[in-house]
Amino acid sequence: MEQTSEINNFVGHLFRHHAGKMAAVLVRHFGVANIDTIEDAIQDAMITAMKRWPFSGTPDNPTAWLTQVAKNAVIDKLRREQKTVTIDDLEFAQEITPASHFEGEIDDDQLRLIFACCHSSISPDSQVALTLKIVCGFSVGEIARAFLSNESSVTKLITRAKGRLRSGEIAFEIPAGNELAERMTPVLKVLYLMFNEGYAPTAGSEIVRRDLCSEALRLAEHLAQDAKTTMPQVHALAALFCFHAARFPARVGSHGELLLLADQDRSRWSQELIASGLKHMTASARGNELSNYHLEAEIASVHAVAASLDETDWRRIVECYELLQSRSYSPIAELNKVIAIGQIENSEQTLDRLDQLEADGKLSNYFLFHAARAHYLADLDRIDAALDSYQRALSLSHNETTRRLIANKIGELKGDRNEHTI
């Protein structure tokens, strides 16, 4: 058993990560305009690996192997199209062999690629979809889930956006001056969505796709450190990621179950990441800019520095939610606000607030709303109503681990009720 999990770790999420890295390297060599050929070549290289590795075993350096195969496929295709290809094979081979300086160069290439995908000639929704597809190696299905959209809409967004890349008018570079600030907005949104999908995957059985989060954090840190791209809101986003990532070790219990904030062992929170988050918070306060990321980071920081749930500065959290809501209203943030207020008020009052919130109907298909309602109903000993709400939450959740958590709650409640009857 141990060996199996070792192997799974070894292959890990290599394909998705490295699809993004391969794209960055190949785009630098062959240009943004050849994006279709490059993407096809990456897909073909991965299919070849899938067919061959079961028989041959995994190569010593899978990334180098994949990149080499993809590169040859690009060259073949371009030659068939009678396009001139000049590439220094020796230089390329050295490049894809791991060396200490290489990772830094790929980071730069990935940032250039993100900025290309977030070019102003591409619509905002397409920018995000395109980046997730090309830079992060997401499939259309995975993007559709992260977007709460369907696959055909996502395909349309990506096809349209790739037309812009093919036009050859988009440079492979990090923009400067006024253009930088404008193009930073979608870049940060992409990283935010990436982290979110990793933190709370909408389907599947993993609670935390840590690698996706660490990838978002890594790119955010890189933007924050780069002299060209360091900006207050970049630091705010990096801070937000750090605070959330700090809680990862405590989010999963000994049986792989999801633990809620109230049940987490706070001594397992990463103090190193919290410290790093606070450093980014300080850097984010330079200048007069206030972004949503600043407010979300502050909420996360209040949790991160609190010794317990009771000792949390809930009033500050509620204030931050109110500020967020005044900037751009979101029913989900409103739900979070009501739950934060619930820590100050009693369960009866909170339940009233939830019922008011339900009236506008926007949250009736959101599992967390029903789970929250069930929690307060159970607290007031209205067990049957609580069970109904948990069942509703269960029917609306598609993440295995979340479903297990809800099912456990239902089991506990039923157990309590039986004890009372006996």
Partner: protein
């Protein structure tokens, strides 16, 4: 221990819609299966046959006939083979039954290899 040949028959499929994660999962399963065979000291050899190309040869009244295969006559092709050693046919079946190839709709032909010499 006798050696056995696992011939992996499969239907040519289009994987262009597979996500990176899907492909990763397939490889991880095969690697784990192969590893379990290796860890029992029963792995002998494995090879993938090329998908493209392939010929069928037959002798007809008009002489040698060579046609392009392997798809010409069969909907199914041999994707590759594994040679393993096993205590018995039963044991070989047990090992082959764990192969992810079956889960993905492929068929396995299991044959004992005649010892040479």
């Amino acid at each position: 221990m006798p050696n056995y040949m696992l011939l992996l028959h499969e239907q040519p499929s289009d994987f262009s819609q597979y996500s990176a994660e899907d492909m990763q999962a397939v490889i991880a399963e095969y690697v784990a299966w192969r590893h379990s065979i290796e860890s029992q000291g029963k792995f002998v050899h494995a090879e993938k046959l090329k998908d493209e190309g392939g010929k069928h040869l037959s002798m007809t009244d008009a002489g040698l006939r060579v046609t392009d295969g392997p798809y010409a006559e069969a909907a199914e092709v041999i994707g590759g083979y594994f040679a393993i050693s096993a205590d018995s046919y039963d044991d070989a079946v047990k090992l082959a039954a764990e192969c992810p190839h079956l889960k993905y709709g492929g068929r396995i032909e299991l044959r004992e290899i005649e010892p040479t010499g």
